[in-house]
């Protein structure tokens, strides 16, 4: 299980990377492994608002459709539109396949460091 030290994590298995005044969000290695092969993704558009704890995207794997939750409130500043055509990147490289960047952050939820997240994964799986 790959859990990079420099990232932060949510209890719903999203990873968060702080880049200046923005954050990048994707899903973890644990999440992609649990979902199985991902075949579709729905992403928001640039300029859309996202709210902490609410779904901003959904991914469909061969097993199920799952919501992806935002750990912050703010505005979508960039979208990794490549994923729309090749969602399998999320399975191949979960930490490279970021989904959105959020700016103008007004609110943020509790995030876990790598050690705490690793412990959570141990309990769940």
């Amino acid at each position: 299980m790959n859990i990079p030290k420099e990232l932060l994590y949510t209890r719903d298995h999203e990873w968060v990377q702080e880049t200046g005044d923005r954050v990048r969000i994707g899903i973890t290695d644990f999440a992609q492994d649990a979902l199985g092969d991902i075949v579709f993704i729905n992403l928001p558009e640039e300029g859309d608002g996202v709210r902490m704890g609410e779904s901003f995207a959904d991914v469909e794997s061969v097993k199920a459709v799952s919501d992806i939750y935002s750990p912050v409130s703010g505005r979508v500043a960039a979208v990794n539109a490549d994923l729309l055509d090749s969602p399998e990147q999320i399975n191949a490289d979960p930490y490279g396949a970021w989904m959105i960047e959020v700016a103008d952050i007004t609110d943020r939820g509790e995030l876990l460091d790598a050690a705490a997240y690793e412990k959570l994964c141990g309990e769940e799986g």
Partner: protein, 482 residues
């Protein structure tokens, strides 16, 4: 070579000029449609002889597994046996030959049948009125929420656009809310696998249009707080929708109408023993309490004095399907209810619950059951531990069952159970079949520990083993390329 023969499509078997005369000669004067509506070129239909058609379908039948072939414990789908009597009734010329455009006065028997079916199914479910227009379950859900929406709007209550759905719900529930332009509010289940009352109380408000729930739920558990759940929603001004997918566990015993539900759909093709799963078609009959009846679809069959006719409800949402739904399915369903009678319907539900508990108790020493206690008509196993210890997943076990002529149970659902396998044996399986299935599951479990490799490649005996699911989802080829 052997494989190639099996995989030929009917289009590939077509030969120019070949044909057969399955249709009778036309016995009415020909009437040509408007010139503008005529197509420029004839459709490219397969040209085959009767023997080709007959062999084609027999071949396909051999390559599949239906309820007539063996055990089919597909959870939440109620794959019970479909009695031959239903087919006989549906084949009666008065039913099979009726045309939807013929005058009501010449189809009195058909209208009477629809009215009687409405009556008995309303009695079983505790509803006041029913329509048979929806073609299947999801279509029924769509209509059910249309009725709820129409009800709120007719009262000028336009702020209600949220549908509360527990996280154990069928995927169609949130999809239905979205299709109706409403928002889904997902609430987590409590530790017993049922609705968390505090979370529900926190979720309801002036924007609540309604709640969608199945009871027993997808974990096979009857929610004992059901009266309180529907009361919370009603007090907030919302309505309660009953997803009838799991009615088989309680029919003849408990009624959604008495639990506080305002609108329901039934899958006649599940609970009332009409064919589905590649057969069908389905029928997603929708029942409602009197407060929603004015919004039901147009052309409601009703008794008018001595005769039967159609009536348009005053605030009808309009039409949801051409004509009157899948009529012959209703014929089969009514035939089922009348054959079983009140006692028989109740007995079917009891045996469905007994069979599920019997099978569960034959294997629960080896396999982990997701939630403890007596289940209803189905139960969910979690194979997370098996996968961790042996590498054999829920999917591998499901695939391995195929080699034993058992249709896989529902996999990876409900989503809140890891490595889920959901078994619904139904009441029509004899004890020997349940014993056989338990034995097979025990063998597979033993093999997972002794020699898991073959399980990872199972099935070994079917025409198709492990199709590429990603390719099937992303680039399906659904039409023949000439």
């Amino acid at each position: 070579m052997r494989d190639q023969k099996l995989q030929k499509l009917i289009f590939e078997k077509s030969r120019e000029g070949r044909g057969c005369s399955l249709l009778p000669a036309c016995d009415v004067p020909a009437a040509l449609p408007d010139q503008a509506l005529l197509r420029q070129a004839p459709p490219r239909l397969p040209q085959v002889a009767e023997i080709d058609i007959s062999r084609h379908y027999t071949e396909m039948q051999k390559r599949t597994h239906g309820v007539n072939d063996g055990f089919y414990p597909l959870g939440s789908c109620t794959m019970k046996y479909n009695p031959k009597l239903g087919e006989e009734m549906a084949a009666l010329p008065g039913f099979a030959g009726v045309h939807p455009l013929q005058p009501a006065g010449t189809a009195q028997g058909c209208l009477e049948l629809l009215c009687r079916a409405e009556q008995v199914l309303a009695e079983i479910t505790g509803m006041d009125a029913m329509t048979f227009q929806p073609a299947a379950g999801a279509h029924g859900e769509y209509l059910g929420l249309l009725l709820i929406k129409a009800y709120h709007q007719a009262r000028g209550d336009r702020a209600r656009n949220k549908i509360i759905v527990p996280d154990a719900a069928h995927g169609t529930n949130p999809a239905t809310a979205t299709m109706n332009g409403m928002q889904t509010v997902n609430i987590p289940s409590n530790e017993q696998g049922c609705v968390d009352l505090d979370k529900l109380r926190a979720a309801v408000g002036p924007d609540t249009a309604g709640l969608m729930l199945t009871n027993p739920n997808t974990l096979g558990l009857f929610d004992e707080n059901i009266a309180e759940i529907t009361r919370i929603v009603h007090e907030a001004g919302g309505l309660n929708y009953y997803d009838g997918a799991n009615l088989n566990a309680i029919m003849g015993i408990a009624r959604p109408g008495d639990m506080g539900f305002d609108v329901i759909h039934l899958n006649l093709h599940k609970s009332f023993a009409t064919p589905h799963g590649g057969g069908g078609p389905g029928s997603g009959a929708v029942g409602c309490k009197a407060l929603l009846a004015p919004f039901l679809p147009l052309d409601r069959p009703v008794q008018q004095g001595e005769a039967y006719g159609f009536e348009d409800p005053v605030q009808s949402i309009g039409r949801i399907k051409a004509f009157y739904g899948n009529f012959l399915v209703v014929v089969k369903a009514l035939s089922y209810v009348l054959t079983l009678g009140a006692e028989g319907i109740r007995e079917a539900a009891c045996n469905a619950v007994l069979n599920a508990n019997y099978l569960k108790n034959q294997i629960n020493d080896l396999y982990e059951v997701a939630f403890d206690g007596i289940c209803m008509h189905e139960f969910v196993l979690s194979l997370a531990e098996l996968k961790k210890r042996t590498g054999v997943s829920a999917k591998d076990v499901a695939k391995a069952l195929l080699d034993y002529d058992i249709h896989p149970p529902t996999m990876y659902f409900p989503l809140i159970v890891e490595e889920a396998l959901m078994f619904e044996p139904t009441e029509t399986e004899p004890r020997e079949m349940l014993d056989y299935a338990a034995q097979v599951l025990r063998e597979i479990h033993a093999q997972a520990f002794s020699d898991p490799a073959p399980l990872l490649n199972a099935p070994l005996t079917t025409p198709v083993a492990r199709p590429d699911e990603v390719l099937a989802a992303r680039s399906p080829r659904l039409t023949f390329e000439f």
